[in-house]
Symmetry: C2
Subunit: 299 residues, 2 copies
Amino acid sequence: MTSAVPTTVRIREVGPRDGLQGESPLSVTDRVRLIEALAATGVADIEAVAFVSPRAVPAMAQAGDVLAALPRRPGVRYWALVPNVRGAELALAAAVDGLTVTVSASEAYSGKNVAMSVQESVAEAGRIAARAGSVAVNAVISCAFGSPFEGDIEASVVEGLAGQLLDGGANTITLADTTGMATPSRIDALLIATGNAVGLHLHDTRGTALLNAYVALGRGLSQFDCAVGGLGGSPFAPGAGGNLATEDLVYLLDELGVETGVDLRSVLDASALVAALVGHPVPSRVAQAGPRRSGHAVV
Amino acid sequence: MTSAVPTTVRIREVGPRDGLQGESPLSVTDRVRLIEALAATGVADIEAVAFVSPRAVPAMAQAGDVLAALPRRPGVRYWALVPNVRGAELALAAAVDGLTVTVSASEAYSGKNVAMSVQESVAEAGRIAARAGSVAVNAVISCAFGSPFEGDIEASVVEGLAGQLLDGGANTITLADTTGMATPSRIDALLIATGNAVGLHLHDTRGTALLNAYVALGRGLSQFDCAVGGLGGSPFAPGAGGNLATEDLVYLLDELGVETGVDLRSVLDASALVAALVGHPVPSRVAQAGPRRSGHAVV
């Protein structure tokens, strides 16, 4: 590990949104319960809902009801994913702290995910940012590390999109590995192209999410999305696979001595809760095995 | 990644032994079929069998029958794990190319695994090496990165054991992370202590096997055990978890441009075979998703 490793990493918890979007819908009460459990971990940013079509993504219905029922904790910023201006207006009316907008580096995925071309999507992100006022706007570039449809995407294309989105009013950029195609060399190439001023959103489709996070850390990256339990994946990307699990990243960062402000035991509690709510085990192996010092029984 | 990354990595495939030992027993014919499929991947070393008590490890029974039925391919060395001199004699009679002996860095695990103290086990390894003649002896130090019973093991203890084993006639040393307790800092500490002149045998209990392999590669390590499909784990170590999957390591090494002589497609074929033989999906995510360039369908 080089000396570039940051002393502090900021985690954005996307479990209530990306983690749940492919699951059978949970009740508003249970979604609030999960968000509350995550707020109790110490994480400062939670992507709590998406204002998307309930027909397209049934698990994300009732976003406004979730936000209305959710006590806002000081020190926590609650985010909503919004695909268009109409979604942004609903999210702003529900008093979110931040808007996530997504633009794909892949034309094919863009068409399937939001029924817009990439450039139409960039323009819509600009309109959302104009509407957002002082509310933070994070632009996520999906398929940044490769597309299941077109294969590799040139780093210069991703860099160009990032520049357009910032010019259009986005405050921050996140590069998303939507289908787990990132590799150490792709991480290097994209972070060099974007000047490292981005966050990462990694998926574990090929078991490489934690490794890719480690490579990015070694380049000084300090902003990561992850989802409790490692649930998740786009319903519109074949074989997307789960998100980098929050407990897996926090476990690694704890071992590396990197501060997150997030308590691993509390994440494991939230992970156990989400497993109970969705009714199946979560992919995270730290959730299954416990941290290395937690002790298997000494027998 | 530093410039220390080796240009070539040597893989020892331990799927037929470590991968199968916790599964329901397969027939001799199916075990030979698996070993043959693995030999066809281009891998130069295969741990094919263990000469252990069939009462303790039913899946490893009939080791002699497997070796008798196995065509020996040129360029492939076939290894047997042996817990004692009696096992070594049976393995040598069956004309293996190498003997794997295990010594644990954990007294508690040693007692459970082989019913010997660590030093009794070191002495037995010496007797095995004396019997082996020109046949290679690899000594595996289990629980080298931590024990589920005692917690962390001092690097100096592992270094001391490695020295004793080499003095006792072992040709090579492998450090085993039996229950997935390795972390980047433990990898660093152990490789510094042992002068890097070791192989690694990693388990994915906490989802860190590939990351730990990557860290070791960055230190110049070039010898790895792995098991097709990521099956495996000691029946005597609680929560051991599967081995580093061969396809996951080869996928990473291919992406890093490191030569292995092992064909990923052939490993995936062997992985599909072992999944069919054991009757359940394997843990490897590359096996489930395919390599990044393999293509999800372009739809």
